[in-house]
């Protein structure tokens, strides 16, 4: 049987060239932990996905400075910021970052409530225009949550209307 590796290697170039950056900002150690999970699945997206852990005792300004250093520096580099919970420091820092980047002409969107399905889906669609990527992240996060029937392994309960959780729409 012929080797599959050349095809897979070539494919990674297709998938990982003109990409939006993804920055996870979350309470420590969630951001780095999520990034590590994503790199386990997609080992070649290390440059594309960054993580900023926010320690409980860190001054907000210091966190903001670190976030600025991780964001694209100039126009043309778009950024999707994923935060864990709206209203907490990581999300507040992200909103300052959005304003900071907008002033420099860098497009930034924030999606909150990050989970692993959201992150994996965002990585898969990172080459889409930023607005579409934002929608993909939202869909991935919401459709990744459901109660599981232990006997069949099937999804049995979800917060979304039944029509919206067709597995075909993932």
């Amino acid at each position: 049987m012929r080797s599959l590796r050349p095809r897979l290697t070539g494919l990674q170039h297709v998938h990982f060239l003109p990409m939006n950056k993804i920055l996870i900002i979350a309470h420590a150690p969630f951001a780095q932990a999520l990034r590590a999970c994503a790199l386990h699945v997609f080992p070649d997206c290390a440059q594309q996905v960054q993580a900023l852990d926010v320690p409980a005792d860190e001054p907000c300004d210091k966190t903001f400075e670190t976030a600025c250093a991780l964001a694209p520096a100039e126009e043309g580099g778009d950024l999707l910021v994923l935060t864990d919970v709206f209203g907490a420091t990581p999300s507040n820092v992200a909103q300052r970052l959005l304003q900071h980047c907008a002033a420099k002409g860098v497009q930034v969107r924030e999606v909150t409530g990050v989970n692993l399905p959201m992150l994996l889906r965002a990585i898969c669609y990172a080459s889409l225009p930023l607005h579409d990527l934002e929608q993909c992240a939202l869909t991935g996060g919401q459709q990744g949550m459901f109660a599981v029937d232990f006997s069949t392994g099937a999804p049995v309960c979800t917060l979304l209307p039944a029509a919206a959780v067709s597995t075909e729409s993932f």
């Binding site: 012929r2 095809r7 897979l8 494919l11 998938h15």
Partner: protein
């Protein structure tokens, strides 16, 4: 449209890394690629869809390709299953 039934032979089944490889490979072809396990049928170009199958070792899945390059896609994806996703076991 062509179909092939495949028995999953790698120890960990369609876990996250294997699903990532499968969905990437499927997405490299212009045709539609579907994967079904029992009554659940998903778009194999989507990693979250593939993981929804929760298909473990010895599970049977039906691979379906339809459209341009359907033969090539079928062969490449069947090879990936046969290669145990490069996991060796």
């Amino acid at each position: 449209m062509i179909q092939q039934t495949i028995t999953i032979s790698n120890k960990l089944g369609l876990h996250a890394r294997a699903s990532a490889k499968l969905s990437k490979l499927a997405a490299s072809f212009p045709c539609e690629v579907w994967l079904a396990r029992g009554s659940r049928r998903i778009n194999a170009k989507s990693i979250m869809g593939v993981m929804m199958l929760a298909a473990g070792l010895d599970a049977q899945v039906v691979l379906e390709t339809s459209g341009e390059q359907e033969q090539e896609a079928m062969q490449a994806i069947a090879d990936l299953f046969a290669d145990k996703f490069g996991e060796g076991e």
